[in-house]
């Protein structure tokens, strides 16, 4: 019998790995991959809570669908920004993108 804690622990581990990528990677595309991992962990949480709560109430899945749409928008805009920065400054290293640094 699989309890809810297993799914939540899996999602927490996925989220922590994404967090590490966001905090430690240099390449902006790798940072975006970390953000995708974190969003996916959140969706796993939503679906697990839906399943273990009241499966007849569809709210959890509807919420997850909205998160999917937001993740798609985030990926499109983020990658467009990275490509634009690469074109202008010839780098995707997060440390070298310091145009707005005071």
């Amino acid at each position: 019998m699989l309890s809810l804690s297993w799914y939540l622990t899996f999602a927490a581990a996925l989220f922590a790995l994404g967090m590490y990528a966001v905090l430690a990677r240099k390449n902006a595309v790798a940072i975006l991959m970390g953000v995708e991992l974190m969003l996916n962990a959140v969706i796993v949480n939503l679906v697990a809570f839906w399943r273990y709560g009241n499966p007849m109430d569809i709210a959890g899945q509807a919420f997850a669908v909205i998160v999917f749409a937001v993740a798609a928008a985030e990926a499109a805009v983020g990658l467009a920004l990275i490509i634009s920065i690469y074109r202008q400054r010839d780098t995707v290293m997060a440390e070298k993108i310091d145009l707005m640094k005071w």
Binding site: L8, L14, F15, I43, Q61, A62
Partner: protein
């Protein structure tokens, strides 16, 4: 004998190994391919949770669209892909400590909380209920429409941002 726990443990372990490779491997194309493996494992987790529609959306949207978009972004910024120097910034150990502390804190809380047990009975077909709830004015039609407006804005915005401007020519 219920096989779900065994499938869950195997798939979860493989997914976490793939996710670890995503965040540590040097070559970004390899990282993107490991990201595809991770997203596929999460789709299997959705199937185990009786959310078939979520698994389909995960395959079509995440693997079919977002992962391929990331592969394209890696290829378009190719010159720095075989980059010299470290892939991690100088404070990477701080990030590792923060992530590890976060995971330990969350999971210790998770295992101390009394969660409800899995509701019995067959969940059945949830796609119909989900589709109805997304167009029902009493339920989630407003978030659904706002999400579609958000996608249009993101589409136009990313075209406008990524389009080569006059000053960059």
């Amino acid at each position: 004998m219920n096989a779900t726990p065994i499938i869950f443990l195997v798939v979860a372990a493989l997914t976490l190994v793939a996710a670890f490779l995503v965040v540590t491997v040097r070559n970004l194309i390899h990282a993107a391919l490991w990201l595809v493996a991770t997203l596929f494992g999460v789709a299997v987790i959705f199937v185990l949770l009786d959310a078939g529609f979520m698994a389909t959306v995960q395959l079509v949207l995440y693997i079919g669209a977002i992962a391929i978009l990331i592969v394209f972004a890696v290829m378009l910024t190719r010159r720095v892909m075989q980059d010299v120097g470290p892939q991690r910034n100088s404070n990477w150990w701080l990030g590792a400590i923060v992530a590890a502390v976060f995971f330990v804190a969350i999971s210790s809380l998770l295992w101390r909380t009394g969660w409800p047990a899995l509701p019995g009975g067959d969940v059945g077909d949830t796609v119909l209920a989900l589709g109805r709830s997304l167009v029902n004015p009493d339920q989630y039609v407003i978030p659904f429409e706002v999400a579609s407006v958000l996608l249009i804005i993101a589409l136009i915005g990313s075209i406008a941002v990524a389009l080569p401007g006059k000053q960059s020519e």
